[in-house]
């Protein structure tokens, strides 16, 4: 289905470009996410989130005096930097997008930033690239993210585990930049806090057999197994194999593992396991959920709220600079995201655009309580989840 959506998006953009000149004012925003690849089960909701914000703005007619916002999708594949760059290249040079909402995975995000966005001077706001390395990447002020850095997630994970009295964990991570980066960050934080990581071992995605990895993990032991992987990929394989062989029965799931698939694949077998993914209990989150349900997609999906916020920030910044040129509005992103100003929640984008037009400050809170710090990344809010009765639910916000 997801590929069907992509295909129609692609056709839409073909016809879209043909008629582009006919339309009075059109703002194109690239949505580059891993519609295929390890994150393919959570990206549809992310794309829908971003497009929800765009539809809202288009309907309001308030952006740059009635501009229409068009979403153009590109596939980042999440892992293949070459393919991602070429998709971004196409969106920027051929479809002439004004900004990019994306990408999702840290590796491809870095690649697109360096090879496509910076050369062309295009603003990029990622909803989910969490690698700490991106904090210090050269970006000419073009790159932002509404997701927190994994350095932050490592601390949150440590807190959650310690609150539950877990002192010893085994750790496995998907063997790519996301998994390795998160594992490093977590291990450092956990050990600093006095915990023990009995073993940190990688698993390759897409390899169906994980008995060797699980054997090593089981041998090292631990009160829980931290699975820094993807729910659509090896992460699930590890969990499956661990449950089957009785190696572990308690798991910790970081952001890449939290998804509907987890309920489908395991259900009650995971009762007692826990985890966390970005999210807030702000009133924005609830509003977003309402909007998402009305629009017919799953608003609780990981990074869907962040995607809405990323798209919203792009459009608000455009209005603040009164320009759809990245060079002009890149400096406005931080202004609209942070205080001072009137707080803006999902569904209030029209109001925000009007305020900005009238020269007033806004402080965009959005669906994920956006607060951009330092080099333009989210300060980081997480929701802690726990499995009970065969599905996970949020029990606490951090």
């Amino acid at each position: 289905m997801k590929k069907f959506l992509m295909a129609t998006a692609a056709t839409a953009l073909m016809t879209g470009t043909a008629f582009a000149d006919a339309h009075a004012k059109e703002v194109k925003i690239g949505v580059i996410l891993g519609f295929t690849g390890p994150l393919e089960s959570i990206t549809p909701a992310m794309g829908a989130g971003a497009e929800l914000a765009m539809a809202e703005v288009t309907d309001s007619g308030a952006l740059l005096d009635g501009a229409k916002v068009v979403s153009i999708r590109g596939d980042s594949t999440c892992i293949d930097a070459g393919a991602a760059t070429s998709a971004a290249e196409r969106l920027i040079t051929s479809d002439k997008v004004s900004a990019i909402m994306g990408a999702d995975c840290s590796g491809v995000t870095g690649a697109i930033l360096q090879n496509a966005a910076r050369p062309n001077g295009i603003v990029m706001i990622s909803p989910s690239a969490t690698s700490p390395g991106l904090s210090t990447a050269e970006d000419d002020g073009l790159f932002f993210r509404t997701a927190p850095s994994d350095a932050r997630q490592g601390v949150i994970m440590t807190e959650i585990l310690q609150d539950r009295g877990v002192k010893e964990v085994a750790l496995t991570y998907t063997n790519n930049d996301y998994g390795k980066g998160l594992a490093d960050a977590f291990q450092a934080a956990f050990e600093e806090a006095g915990g023990t990581v009995t073993i940190a071992t990688a698993h390759e995605d897409g390899k169906a057999d994980y008995s060797a990895e699980v054997g090593a993990l089981a041998s090292a032991g631990g009160e829980a197994l931290v699975v820094a992987g993807y729910v659509d990929q090896g992460g699930s394989g590890i969990v499956r194999s661990s449950i089957d062989s009785g190696a572990f029965d308690t798991f910790y799931f970081p952001d890449g593992m939290v998804g509907e698939k987890l309920n489908e694949n395991f259900g009650a077998e995971l009762n007692g396991s826990f985890g966390a993914y970005p999210g807030t209990d702000s009133e924005g989150a609830a509003k977003f959920l309402e909007l998402a349900t009305a629009a017919g997609f799953d608003g609780t999906g990981a990074f869907a709220p962040e995607s809405y916020d990323a798209a919203a920030l792009i459009m608000l910044a455009m209005q603040a600079a009164n320009s759809m040129d990245s060079a002009d509005f890149k400096d406005k992103v931080m202004d609209v995201a942070n205080a001072p100003g009137e707080k803006i929640y999902p569904g209030e984008l029209a109001k925000a655009l009007e305020l900005i037009k009238n020269g007033e400050d806004v402080d965009y809170e959005g669906a994920s309580a956006v607060e951009l710090i330092g080099p333009g990344e989210s300060a980081g809010n997480y929701q802690e989840i726990e499995f009970a009765d065969g599905k996970y639910s949020t029990i606490k916000y951090r």
């Binding site: 073993i199 990688a202 041998s219 090292a220 032991g221 009785g246």
Partner: protein, 336 residues
Amino acid sequence: MDLLNAFVALSNFVLIPAIAYGSQLALGALGVTLIYGILRFSNFAHGDTMAFGTMVTILFTWLFQSWGISLGPVPTALLALPFGILGCMALLLFTDRVVYKFYREQKAKPVILVIVSLGVMFIMNGLVRFIIGPDDQRFADGERFIVSVRTFKDMTGLEEGLAIKTTQGITVITAVIVVAALFWFLNRTRTGKSMRAYSDNEDLALLSGINPERVVMITWMIVAALATVAGVLYGLDKSFKPFTYFQLLLPIFASAIVGGLGSPLGAIAGGFTIAFSEVMVTYAWKKVAGYALPESLAPDGLAQLLSTDYKFAVSFVILLIVLLFRPTGLFAGKSV
């Protein structure tokens, strides 16, 4: 008691998975080795042949499931397996007719056939993705465990648990049956004997009145059966994903070569060698050693020879070592 715990832990995490994996590899390697023996080339399309056979089986499984047919505790896929084999045979015979036959008649060099099989690999790769898509497909149903960890612990009172999955049991049983049938066929039937004769000496076999096209046809049919069985067992035990099957080609080749290309016995030995070494070299022996050794000798570290990161390199390192010392494999295979 501790020794028993050590043995159970070892069985649960090393022996049982390795035996199941080894059986799957051995079945795959048998297919590769038969093609090499009779048709005299390394078939790069074998992984994708497995994927194709499995895919047909999965489609039939879904069909049966939608009709409400099931085998109770045993996976429905076993019922669909014969149809998968037939589908795979049809594809291979078709491929042979439109692709390989031409080169056979031309007496093309073996390496040309290898390159041709690369082309076939690309096409099958695309075909399978085209039909079923590139995603994971789970099609196992029925009872999940023969023995689950909890029952085992309750039964024995041991600290360590032991799980035997239904799919693992089926894998081993099926593999034994298939291998026995294959060896019976090769050694006891007229056709099988003529195949072996053809494999040993093509010219001599032709003189003694063997119809080569018939031998080739039967080879493809057997290969289709082996590939489909191997693929379905692998898919049941783990999951089906076209890309994984393509990747499976590498350990399968390693198995066939370690055993010696063209030698069916070698393929089986190779399959288990690769499977066991992959699991054992990267296994952290801490737990087993902790039970088996007196406390003073128990290791502090993980007692792991190589990190699991290098799991996939292990089979090739073994392959290289074997080739260095026995250039035609353990069971002295052929080389053309």
